[in-house]
């Protein structure tokens, strides 16, 4: 014993004192927790600022806003179409969407392996995650074209076609397992539904110009009996119509403590300066205002635009001395003045868009009557005269215009411009240096290419 005492391996078993060991922790993670965190990603700050830049400010609908010297980091570049691969907003969304995809994939894996006995519940959770994964991939692919599929190879980019195939499969799986909106228990209001997956798939087909499929899936949503148009257009953005009859999918937000919503979404877009209460970014452009006026579309104009000096529907007076002449009313919330977490549910998919997808697909298939029926439903709500032309070309233009006015500031305008091939002409008419063959896609973020030099850059960047 002089030399060796107690040389047993127990000596190496040291009780942890600083950190509670997994076995002693009460913390158990349910599959639902990981699905929740995938939804939660939609409330990230990036959606309140970077997202505005790459979807709206960059387009003809919106300008940077705010004060001339306040750049919002890079919003002036996006507004001026002088963004580059190092523009932070682009990298922010790239990263945000990939992290969301990662969370969705983990949620799927966790739900599959956790040992849930209720098959329907398990499949629903998986369906929700697949819907969210598809949504994030869709946002990625329409912005960047070829992108890497996270589960296959992070170092290179998969062809756009393969990414769309993956999105399609996720959505078909989601459609097969998700309940209809009305089938959910009340406490689950806000989760992804079968209708949401169908509507998104219709939109995916629209982008892919698979008109037949787009028509079918839009039709399924329309005839599901789950949705109808909100009678008054402006009501769509009121608190009382959150998850209302027209709503297919929206980001959930609340204002009470603990406040939780899209971090600062209302604040970044609220009027700025003396008598204002926000940062004043992402403001309606003169061109958008003209578009409303030319159409005589006062209902949607007034629901979409806050004018300097006006009195809002809830009685709030917008001072005549705020910085900019117009602001985005769809982001406006009566509550949560300047609070970090707004109560604004951000509408992602709603029936009016499905009708317009339906109309566009039908028209492309030569069925102008069907197209007109769907189109005019949208117009009738906002008291605009029926469109009657059956000329495919004319009707196409009219449907595109309808999309612009109906969906202004709903984060689609730039991609509609690109998708329909109008972007170059429209942007150049506004004096923006749009280069054909380059600006159709955003550059892959420089930070990503630094990490994975094998990755190719989009043409022209």
């Amino acid at each position: 014993t002089f030399l060796f005492y107690g040389c047993s391996e127990d000596f190496l078993d040291v009780d942890s004192r600083e950190k509670i060991e997994a076995g002693d922790s009460e913390e158990v993670f349910e599959p639902d927790d990981f699905v929740t965190s995938t939804y939660g990603m939609l409330t990230d700050w990036d959606y309140a600022f970077s997202w505005l830049g790459v979807t709206e400010i960059i387009s003809d609908n919106a300008d940077k806003g705010s004060t001339p010297t306040s750049t919002g980091t890079d919003k002036h570049f996006l507004d001026g179409l002088t963004h580059t691969s190092t523009t932070p907003s682009i990298a922010a969304m790239w990263e945000r969407w990939y992290k969301s995809i990662g969370r969705a994939s983990y949620a799927i894996e966790y739900a599959e392996e956790y040992g849930l006995t209720d098959e329907d519940y398990k499949n629903r959770l998986i369906g929700e995650a697949k819907f969210l994964r598809a949504l994030n991939y869709f946002w990625l692919v329409r912005m960047f074209g070829d992108v890497s599929l996270q589960h296959t190879d992070l170092l290179t980019r998969a062809p756009e076609e393969e990414v769309y195939d993956f999105i399609e499969q996720d959505l078909l799986d989601a459609i097969a397992t998700l309940p209809n909106k009305s089938e959910y228990a009340s406490g689950d209001l806000g989760r992804a539904t079968k209708g949401a997956a169908q509507a998104l798939l219709a939109k995916v087909y629209l982008y892919k110009k698979q008109w037949e499929d787009a028509l079918n899936y839009a039709g399924m949503v329309m005839t599901s009996g789950e949705y109808s148009l909100e009678p008054n257009y402006e009501d769509i953005w009121r608190v009382y119509s959150e998850n209302g009859v027209e709503s297919i999918f929206e980001v959930q937000a609340r204002g009470e403590q603990i406040a939780h919503g899209v971090n600062q979404y209302s604040q970044t877009q609220a009027p700025r300066g003396t008598g204002g209460w926000g940062w004043g970014f992402n403001v309606p452009s003169e061109d958008l205002l003209n578009a409303f006026n030319e159409e005589g579309d006062t209902i949607r104009r007034d629901a979409t635009i806050i004018f300097r000096g006006e009195t809002l529907w809830d009685g709030r007076e917008v001072s005549g001395s705020v910085e900019n002449p117009m602001y985005n009313e769809k982001a406006y919330s009566s509550a949560n003045l300047g609070d970090a977490d707004g109560d604004k549910n951000v509408r992602i998919l709603r029936l009016a868009e499905v009708l317009l997808i339906h109309a566009e697909a039908a028209n492309e298939l030569g069925d102008s009557n069907t197209a007109l029926t769907s189109l005019n439903q949208v117009r009738a709500r906002v008291k605009l005269p029926e469109v009657t032309t059956t000329d495919q070309g004319q009707l196409r233009e009219l449907i595109w215009k309808e999309r612009r006015l109906e969906l202004a500031f709903e984060h689609d305008r730039w991609f509609d411009l690109i998708r329909t091939g109008q972007a170059g002409e429209v942007m150049r008419a506004h004096g923006k240096p749009f280069e054909d063959g380059k600006h159709e896609l955003f550059p892959v973020p420089n930070d990503q290419i630094n990490q994975t030099p094998e990755m190719t850059q989009n043409p022209g960047w």
């Binding site: 942890s16 004192r17 965190s37 990939y98 994939s105 009340s186 989760r191």
Partner: protein, 1017 residues
């Protein structure tokens, strides 16, 4: 035959008990007694052979004298030196590995708090980066840096016991330091030896009379390499040029103040050291006792560090010397009053127009009357007051900093050695360290607030405090408390136990030495307690948590550390044939509790070494010129268990975070969870090294030297991996992801000679070269960045093929001369005439990260030391120098200037002043990007030490030695670097991806002039 009586002493007249005296050719012999006395029967003409271990043998022919005194000279041949190799010792001549030794006299010659500071420049292959901040710990890099993020410190072993550091040991108590540099010798310490092993042996008593010594010195310190800042006029010019470029008010020529901030901030520091020691030994007990007091006041006002050390080493010999018990004890107390080092950085940035204090006694601040252009806080009606910059007054920071740190370290152990037989010895050793730390910080928040603006009053403070108070609850925000007090208490304990058997025997010409043993160690046993409260009474006597105000929320933190245990087995076999052929094989098997959760928490660390002493072969044995020649080589594996570990990978939050979501008609908050980082099973970093070396002594051993080559690779370096943007993970995580190699050469050469009785001299030098490179990085694992300038800019990046901590930044290709140039070339956002122009490396028309380039590393590629010693009669003189080269350092102070901070006089004199003025230096309006403009050569050569000493000739029989000396420490430094010091340890004790090599708030090098005495009784 006569009866001869005599005494044997050493050169210092100290009696040598136990000396053997043999009459040659007879069996008559004697052994000297306790006082060195002996009697022996011998006839005139017979020869006495006098031998004593560690001394040269002497032959004395008996004459008519029956009373003789024999003086033995110490045997100083380096080859007979005993080297501590871990669980044993070896003669230097018998080594197969690469081990360097530093003797006591070399350590105490360079007055320092810690022995490692004194080693700088003395040993090839060891790169020491010093800081002259009182109480600072230098960084020690042995044979290149082998890790990015894990522990970088060598293993310290004191008298056989592992310790955290050697800061608590007085250099005067150290007998010698042995450094195990290569894997073949260090692998006996297994998984703690990756950064080399430093073995410290402290002094023991020697048989003989009690010896008293008293050593004392006092020195004065000042900044070695001051930087001249711009004066008031230069500052005004520079300011106005900047204002002209970007718009804004300008300053008037006539101002109120011209402050030299460094002059105000820096003082002549002092160092004072006193050591008293007594040692001796008898038949059964040897003893050594010492007390040391070290006190230093830095060049920053009131920055003090004091240390008291008590050392006691005793050895007891029992049972006919069969059992030897050794007891070591080291107690140290430190007492420190730190001052904010940020003051150096801040002083650099202060405008000379701002006074330390205004005429009315209030602290100066950077207020400026923007209407009149006068730097003052006073304004007439309608005039507006602004600030030049946001930094506060550094003198006020120093004034208000009220911090005290006390530590107590008790370190010691007990060793028992039992000789089972002549060949076999059993050793058991227990060592332990108990450490106490306490720190008290008093922060006069109200006074600081008042100092922030000369117009503020106490009434205003109370008014603001009232306004900030919550009306309903009455809660006052802590930021409006009058003062705060924080206390921190840390207590740690570590122990180790070793048991081993040593077998040593000569079978004819076969010499065998075997060691076999086991070891257990427990460290990090302890706790931390922290408390913070607000508004204690103003008198210092009441500064305790007991007296804090109940109005505020107090903070209490407490953690009990998770201990670490280590269990090991080790064995070493050494064999040599006829002192010609040597072979050593070692194996250590370590298990560590840190990796208990992993699958392979046991690991083997083998090594071997070979040696061939050519000079003992027949063909060289009689060579007149070659006295010693040996070639050796070896291979070994080492580990590093101080690795960073991944923390929980699942993230949750109870607030509003992007993990959570609201659902249902009432929008209930649902708490979610997400995976932040992948699960990576981490284990120790493994280092493998092979090397060859050659030792030689020529020309009557007057010339000695050695050459070494080594090739060392860390096989599985841990990186902090930034997840790919397109991966699922959000948080950085640790993973084994690269190799790092260190290849190098070491040379040492020394010439020593005695010209005559009166004259002797020595001249020596060493040189080492190391090439460091990151290799085999896993795909997408490189790109770890570091070297933050705290302004959003970084200066370092990890990449395959580059050294660790490689500089990575823009390359400057000139200065923008005109706006036209800016508009027609690739430029960064905000570029303007007078700004530096960065090269578009990839020629894509855009300046971004892809245009950044690698520029080498802050780690010197080579370092060297030289020494010169001269003795003439009673005068000794020596000069030591140290230098490094092949490295670059970053002048972050110069680079990070923002707003209207001050600049150096040199920056002022060389600046761009308009088109065509210079294409090298930027103008008054410039950006803050990191670029190679601010990256400068870090090469320097410094005279470390010049010492002249005079030893009084025997003037009293009670005084055996009295020496006076004068030392100039760091009197000269030769460097092109424009900052305060090219020796920059940086944050986190030299972490290559922190601010190592970046001067942002580095403590300046100091020079010290010292006078001292050595007295021995």
């Amino acid at each position: 035959q006569n009866t001869i009586t005599g005494q044997v002493t050493d050169a210092d007249n100290q009696p040598l008990p136990g000396t053997n005296i043999l009459v040659e050719g007879t069996n008559r012999y004697a052994v000297s007694d306790f006082d060195g006395n002996f009697t022996i029967e011998a006839s005139p003409g017979e020869v006495l052979q006098v031998t004593y271990v560690g001394f040269k043998d002497r032959l004395i022919t008996v004459g008519d004298d029956t009373s003789i005194t024999i003086v033995l000279q110490e045997d100083t041949s380096e080859l007979d030196e005993v080297v501590v190799v871990g669980y044993g010792t070896q003669k230097k001549a018998d080594l197969t590995g690469s081990i360097s030794s530093i003797e006591a006299e070399d350590i105490v010659k360079q007055p320092a708090l810690t022995a490692t500071q004194a080693i700088q420049g003395k040993v090839p292959g060891i790169n020491i980066i010093n800081s002259d901040q009182p109480g600072a710990t230098p960084t020690v890099i042995i044979r290149g840096l082998g890790t990015a993020l894990s522990g970088r410190d060598p293993l310290y072993i004191v008298d056989g016991m592992p310790v955290d550091n050697i800061k608590s040991i007085s250099p005067s108590d150290i007998l010698k330091v042995d450094v195990l540099k290569d894997a073949s010798s260090a692998s006996i310490y297994g998984l703690r030896a990756a950064n080399g092993v430093i073995i410290v042996t402290t002094k023991q008593g020697k048989k003989g009379k009690a010896k008293f010594s008293f050593d004392s010195f006092y020195g004065a310190k000042s900044i070695l390499n001051p930087v001249e800042m711009a004066n008031a006029n230069q500052y005004i010019d520079y300011f106005n040029e900047g204002a002209a470029a970007i718009g804004g008010y300008s300053l008037q020529e006539d101002q109120l103040h011209n402050t030299d901030w460094y002059n105000e901030l820096a003082q002549v520091g002092s160092i004072n050291n006193n050591t008293f020691a007594v040692s001796g030994g008898g038949e059964h007990v040897d003893y050594y006792f010492s007390y040391n007091h070290y006190e230093e006041e830095g060049v920053l006002k009131d920055h003090k560090y004091r240390r008291g050390t008590i050392k006691n080493n005793n050895t007891y010999r029992l049972f006919d010397d069969k059992l030897k018990l050794t007891q070591n004890l080291n107690i140290s107390f430190t007492n420190e009053n730190p001052k904010p080092l940020g003051a150096f950085n801040n002083a650099y940035r202060q405008s000379p127009l701002v006074p330390v204090r205004y005429e009315n006694g209030r602290w100066g601040q950077s207020f400026v009357n923007q209407t009149t252009g006068i730097v003052t806080y006073e304004a007439g009606p309608g005039e507006s007051i602004g600030r030049l910059y946001s930094h506060g007054n550094p003198m006020a920071d120093v004034f208000f900093q009220n911090e005290k740190i006390h530590t107590t370290t008790l370190q010691g152990g007990f060793t028992g050695e039992f000789s089972i037989s002549e060949d076999l010895k059993a050793t058991s050793r227990f060592g332990a360290t108990k450490y106490y730390f306490d720190k008290r910080v008093f922060n006069p928040m109200r006074e600081r607030w008042i100092a922030g603006d000369p117009t503020r009053t106490y009434e205003e403070f109370d008014e603001s405090r009232k306004n900030a108070t919550n009306e309903e609850t009455g809660i006052i925000p802590t930021s409006w408390a009058y003062n705060s007090l924080s206390l921190e208490d840390i207590e740690t304990f570590r122990w180790n136990w070793d048991g081993f058997l040593t077998f040593d025997r000569l079978f004819g010409k076969h010499h065998v030495n075997l060691v076999l043993g086991g070891s257990k160690e427990k460290t990090n046993v302890g706790r931390r307690l922290y408390g913070q409260g607000y508004e204690v009474p103003e008198k210092e006597q009441y500064w305790s948590i007991q007296h804090v105000s109940g109005f505020f929320d107090n903070v209490t933190e407490n953690v009990y550390y998770t201990p670490r245990t280590l269990m090991s087995y080790f064995a070493r076999a050494q064999y040599n044939f006829d002192n010609k052929y040597y072979i050593t094989a070692t194996i250590r098997r370590d298990g560590s509790s840190v990796f208990k959760a992993g699958e392979n928490f046991w690991e083997n660390f083998p090594s071997f070494g070979l040696g061939w002493t050519l000079s003992n072969e027949d063909f060289l044995k009689d060579s007149k010129h070659i006295n010693f020649l040996k070639i050796r080589g070896g291979w070994g594996r080492l580990g590093n268990q101080n690795v960073p570990l991944n923390i929980d990978q699942i993230q949750t939050s109870t607030g509003s975070a992007n993990q959570n979501y609201v659902l249902g008609p009432n929008q209930e908050l649902m708490f979610g969870a997400s995976v932040a980082s992948p699960v990576k099973d981490l284990t120790w970093e493994i280092v493998e090294e092979w090397g060859v070396g050659l030792d030689l002594e020529l020309l009557d051993s007057r010339l000695s030297g050695s050459v070494d080559y080594y090739d060392k690779t860390t096989k599985n370096m841990i990186l902090l991996v930034q997840p790919l943007l397109n991966s699922q993970f959000a948080e950085n995580f640790y993973d084994h992801g690269a190799e790092v190699s260190n290849k190098g050469m070491e040379f040492a050469l020394e010439w020593r000679d005695n010209i005559s009785e009166d004259w002797s001299y020595s001249i020596g030098g060493n040189f080492s070269y190391n090439k460091n490179m990151v290799e085999n990085v896993k795909p997408a694992y490189d790109g770890m960045t570091g070297g933050s300038l705290n302004n959003g800019r970084i200066t370092k990046r990890l990449e395959e093929g580059q050294p660790l901590g490689a500089w990575w930044m823009y390359e400057v290709e000139g200065v923008w001369q005109t706006q036209d140039e800016v508009d027609n070339n690739a430029s960064i956002e905000g570029a303007a005439p007078g700004h530096l122009r960065y090269k578009d490396q990839n020629e894509d028309g855009v300046i971004d990260d892809r245009d950044k380039k690698f520029f080498g590393s802050y780690i010197p590629k080579y370092n060297y030391g030289i020494r010169l010693g001269l003795n003439y009669k009673n005068i000794d003189f020596s000069v030591d120098g140290f230098g490094v080269g092949g490295n670059k350092v970053y002048n972050g102070l110069k680079n990070t200037r923002t707003d209207n901070e001050n600049i150096t006089a040199d920056t002022y004199n060389t600046r761009w002043t308009g088109e065509g003025s210079t294409n090298i230096h930027p103008g008054a309006d410039r950006d803050i990007e990191a670029s190679d403009y601010y990256l400068e050569s870090g090469a320097f050569f410094r005279i470390n030490n010049i010492t002249v000493g005079y030893t009084l000739p025997d003037f009293s029989k009670y005084v055996s030695k009295l020496r006076f000396y004068f030392t100039a420490q760091n009197p000269f430094m030769f460097t092109d670097y424009s900052g305060f010091t090219p020796e920059i340890i940086g944050g986190d004790g030299g972490n290559p991806y922190r601010t190592a090599g970046v001067e942002l708030s580095a403590y300046p090098n100091t020079k010290t002039f010292i006078f001292g005495i050595n007295l021995e009784l």
